[in-house]
Symmetry: C2
Subunit: 500 residues, 2 copies
């Protein structure tokens, strides 16, 4: 097991960040590669974190008036072809179903048979199939707005995959809405961006910059794409969620029309917005340390683990009973409107091994309870946001009284730490030379802000530096300045970074 002289995860972040990430995924038992190229298996601990995310987001979607529905996994090829930029964006990496059965081939093995008249694509996203239904459902202004969300799996045939961050199949939600006016659709786009921001910060303890994507980074077919951008511990950016104003592009491609109050026929205005299991990658890379994952209490599948410490000549029954009673007391407490999630780990394993499993999985609070603790009616508490050695005795009564405040403090501390990390790794640059120096090979890099025109002229420079425009931030971005690349005046600030 983990030697306490060294960190539990080898290599450390400093030694080899990408490999450290893979090792955290493994050590926290979140997911593993499957025999299907580029597809992962999400294991119970990882899936439970996703369930926590789903539950909280789903509540926010419903509170803002959206309903869940479900649309087919298959998209006819002709549907994908309807919107020119859209098909351009997705045709190159999609799973194509061409047959509907397998039958014995000449050499005995099974071969595809029953060729389809029209190939079907496994959905990479559902604008086209949902748009086709919207076209049927919408007749008059009275049918608008339509506010739909879908929880689903999608497939994009990525060449290089990495657990949670980029996989051939991933799980996500995709919101799709249709409105009578551009203003309403824009307001919806911004509302959902704000839902994502508040979820990221309040639940994931993930600070994000809200902004608009530049033309080069826009969703294929969108008029404008908004994003929440987070910083990982290798100072790279990760796009954590996007909200698209689709204008009338998809409505025109798919004939989504409605009759107005005056009886004229208009195209609807649509939006789409989504977050995915990629958020788990963001969670890991923001909060983990060299001992493994640290789960924000709001998402931890178990917020508290109770570890009975049984030594020779102690009565296990008495200790187990104490642990069970404490667990029941804790489960009776509500934090953030839900009962505390508490595990009593009674497995017959060496204490060190057991403790380290929970450290690596990121359980916020560990309570060790042995015979002496039972006697003194107290627990020996370790916090995942402190060193594994910093444990302290806490009387049971005090624990019960303070546990909610403790979880609040833990959650707030994670956000504060992530903000501090990001702010320290963010700088403003005033010239192209400074920009190039900031992102030069061997430099730590981070987020660089500068005035920049949204055009393609300096794309080659970005490509050379392996940097991309992350977004044009919405907040504090009223003053205009001269683009450091093109010299064009009257530009807003843009954030640049290397990214996932």
């Amino acid at each position: 097991m983990a030697n306490q002289q060294q960190s539990a995860i080898q290599p450390t972040r400093a030694q080899d960040y990408p490999e450290w990430y893979q090792q955290v995924v493994k050590a926290a038992d979140l997911a593993e590669a499957s025999p299907v190229r580029g597809c992962m298996v999400i294991k119970p601990w990882g899936y439970a974190i996703w369930e926590g995310m789903q539950k909280d987001l789903d509540r926010r979607f419903k509170e803002t008036g959206h309903s869940n529905a479900y649309f087919p996994i298959f998209i006819p090829k002709s549907f994908l072809e309807k919107e020119a930029e859209h098909v351009e964006g997705f045709a190159k990496e999609c799973a194509v179903v061409t047959h509907h059965r397998l039958e014995a081939g000449p050499d005995g093995g099974l071969v595809p048979a029953g060729k389809l008249e029209e190939p079907l694509v496994v959905r990479p996203t559902s604008e086209t199939i949902i748009g086709a239904m919207f076209a049927k459902w919408i007749q008059s202004y009275r049918d608008l707005p339509i506010l739909i969300n879908q929880w689903a799996n999608v497939v994009r045939w990525e060449l290089r995959t990495r657990m949670f961050l980029r996989t051939t199949e991933f799980l996500w939600q995709e919101g799709h809405t249709a409105h009578a006016t551009a203003d309403e659709a824009v307001a919806e786009t911004m509302q959902m961006l704000e839902v994502y921001r508040s979820f990221a910060e309040e639940v994931m303890a993930l600070p994000v910059i809200c902004g608009e994507k530049t033309a080069a980074e826009r969703f294929p077919g969108a008029v404008s794409t908004f994003t929440i951008e987070a910083m990982m511990q290798d100072r790279k950016a990760l796009q954590a969620g996007t909200s698209h104003f689709l204008g009338q592009n998809f409505a025109k491609a798919q004939e989504i029309t409605y009759s107005t109050v005056d009886g004229t026929l208009e195209h609807a205005w649509t939006t789409s917005w989504g977050v995915s299991t990629r958020l788990i990658g963001a969670l890991i890379m923001t909060h983990s340390d060299d001992d493994g994952l640290i789960c924000p209490p709001a998402l931890a599948p178990q917020q508290i683990v109770i570890l009975p410490v049984l030594r020779k000549n102690t009565d296990p029954a008495e200790i187990m009973d104490y642990c069970d009673r404490l667990a029941a007391e804790l489960r009776g407490i509500r934090w953030r409107d839900e009962r505390l999630r508490v595990l009593v780990d009674k497995r017959d394993l060496r204490g060190g091994e057991k403790t380290w499993q929970h450290i690596k999985k990121g359980v916020p609070l560990r309570l060790e309870i042995g015979a002496r603790d039972v006697e003194s009616d107290s627990v020996f508490m370790g916090r995942r946001d402190q060193s594994p050695k910093d444990k302290r005795g806490v009387p049971r009564a005090e624990l019960l009284q303070t546990v909610c405040a403790l979880l609040d403090e833990f959650q707030a501390g994670m956000l504060a730490k992530a903000i501090a990390y990001r702010d320290e790794a963010t700088t403003e640059v005033s010239t192209q030379a400074e920009f190039e120096a900031y992102f030069a090979k061997g430099q730590p890099g981070g987020f660089a802000w500068c005035f920049a025109a949204d055009d393609a002229t300096y794309e080659p420079l970005l490509k050379t530096l392996k940097v991309s425009a992350r977004c044009i931030p919405i907040a504090d971005n009223d003053a205009l300045g001269t683009c450091i690349f093109t010299g064009t005046p009257g530009q807003k600030k843009t954030v640049f970074a290397k990214s996932y």
Copy 2:
């Protein structure tokens, strides 16, 4: 709109049952056909019923020690081929992915490109891919049992499809477990059957017969398949859920082995069990009447709808305010451990049209509130399990006090009615002649019980009659008798029916 002289659904059950079913699906706004062959779109009201089912089942799965996880949607062809009966069962109707991109073809349109070395099948079920992971995860008896559930979409390329009952893509859960002994795996199989039975009866108000499938009806690759069988209002059976004891069949095909306490190597024993969106079909066909769906309160997305009745010369603000306050009061009440789900329908629609929409969707309680009701502090209540005309005034205070008991009564009444219907349409037959007469063309049919051998000799007769063995019931089936078809003594009773 619906003329109250005739029923809201045309045709009625008596006139044309299959068409009545399609019309209920449409009138209740549950789902509709999609442009993708055999795939349906599940609309918000239908999906919310599914969410209710998921939530309740998920709790039961977790309470019995299972964890959710997620496995790839794609199954390599070679995996499907590993278990002989299994591939036989599914190869004939599966979506086959053969390419991983689309590119411009000779005539300008997109054609499949990037041929895969090995075709992938869109999962029809996941025994093989999950088994492959179990083989990696299981080393020793300490790793057992593994108790996993997955919520997912699956695809079976059915020739004839019908909304919810048989669609190319459907949503389901599939439990997959591995155990050290046959006894444990059998106990798991039976435990999950009981979870399904209790869910069906307590939540869906769906009475079911628990029993074992005959050899002909077994899951491909299983040692034994258990089922819950329900009766629809056309006296046909519907298999509502299955739980399979897979023995060591899949473990041997996939090398799922573990070392015992003694250090010997053994194959694990596995199970799988599932229910799907087909349950929504069962719900509709059990509970709907000629006015549309009747939702059991435990699953109704809205249990109560409040309908403000605004007439000329009434002050809408006062009525709306009264409705909102009543809704808030009702939402403060918990029934079955959850807050009441209440909608105030303020849409600007004719009162009759609005009321009939909620009748067709099956909302259990309707509260009409006009100026006089506000004045008398009471509501005018209609129950979906009574005639649309049977409405009565109820003082607000009484409503708040009795609403939980009312919902209990409503839910219990639905179950009692379904049991009575099934029992009336069930008979015991003692001879083959009686059996043939019972299922003869033009007869109403139903469930027929008789002693029967589990063999293939009378399959041709069943085929002629379009009847199948539904199950060998578990309860009250100890006495043995002589098979009415083969004359073989010492047989248990089997239930036969026409079925979906």
